[in-house]
Assembly symmetry: C2
Homo-oligomer: 133 residues x 2
DNA sequence: TCTTGAACCTGTAGTCACTACAGGGATTAA
DNA sequence: TTAATCCCTGTAGTGACTACAGGTTCAAGA
């Protein structure tokens, strides 16, 4: 009848982060080591879930774990300024935009290549020819 | 007065691939082990340069080294068909497009976040608030 | 011929963000 | 009690390099 303890498995389920990944985040100090049951199993609280969800959202936005660490620190730190957070965000935004531009360049080139080739049974391939030129 | 031997450094310079990377490609069997000088230094031929340039072009298009290996094999293999090469290309094209879509989603979200924040000296930050929600 | 310095060699370990075991112990429902 | 399911630690693997350390070879100038 005792309230269910939140084990790592339950936390994994509610956050959508795999058990191994949660342990990994703990190992690298991204999330705190939670208290343990008598048998040594991790027991989590609501705060842990929130912190982990924060990490997840940041990861979905493409922030590196190092960025996430900084953002978590800023969140805790009362001396922080909005400026720092916005700066991290816009810096990352620039990185993302650069990646998009790179990928679009690839896309165009690949598309041109693909269209140059009929894809039949021929042993002569214009794609290979262009790549090998 | 003997013709200059193409050392790994010269090859690196003409292909734009770093020395360490060339040695790495050799180690994983992507390019053949070239003959050596008496002192044990690698000596390359024009064919090596071509092969390496092929690898570079493929990498610039975002193909994995495993894909590159396959493409190199197809290039050597007289029994290949155009179909296989085109298939690899279009499959990769789809991957690239998926990546672009993912990054664009990130970009939109990051942009919205960034615009929600003035970036001043305030200690309350709407970006963190939204991420932590 | 000797010397200097640049270029080369091997082998190993580090990067990032996980993921996948192996070989065990804890917990829970029947 | 027993079986099934969960959890534990520690280590090693992934991809595609990159960065050493500690040595050897080579080419050019004195």
């Amino acid at each position: 009848m005792a309230a269910q303890r939140t084990t790592i498995g339950a936390l994994a389920k509610t956050t959508g982060i795999k058990i191994e990944t949660i342990r990994y985040y703990e190992r690298i100090g991204l999330i705190p080591s939670p208290p343990r049951s008598e048998g040594g199993q991790r027991i989590y609280e609501e705060d842990d879930r929130k912190r982990l969800s924060f990490v997840k959202r940041c990861r979905e936005l493409g922030f590196s774990l190092d960025d996430v660490r900084t953002l978590l620190d800023l969140r805790q730190n009362d001396n922080r300024t909005c400026r720092e957070v916005k700066e991290k965000t816009t810096t990352h935004l620039r990185t993302v935009r650069t990646k998009i531009a790179d990928l679009k360049r690839m896309e165009r080139a690949l598309n041109t290549l693909a269209q140059s080739c009929e894809g039949g049974d021929d042993t002569h391939c214009p794609i290979l020819e262009q790549l090998f030129a």
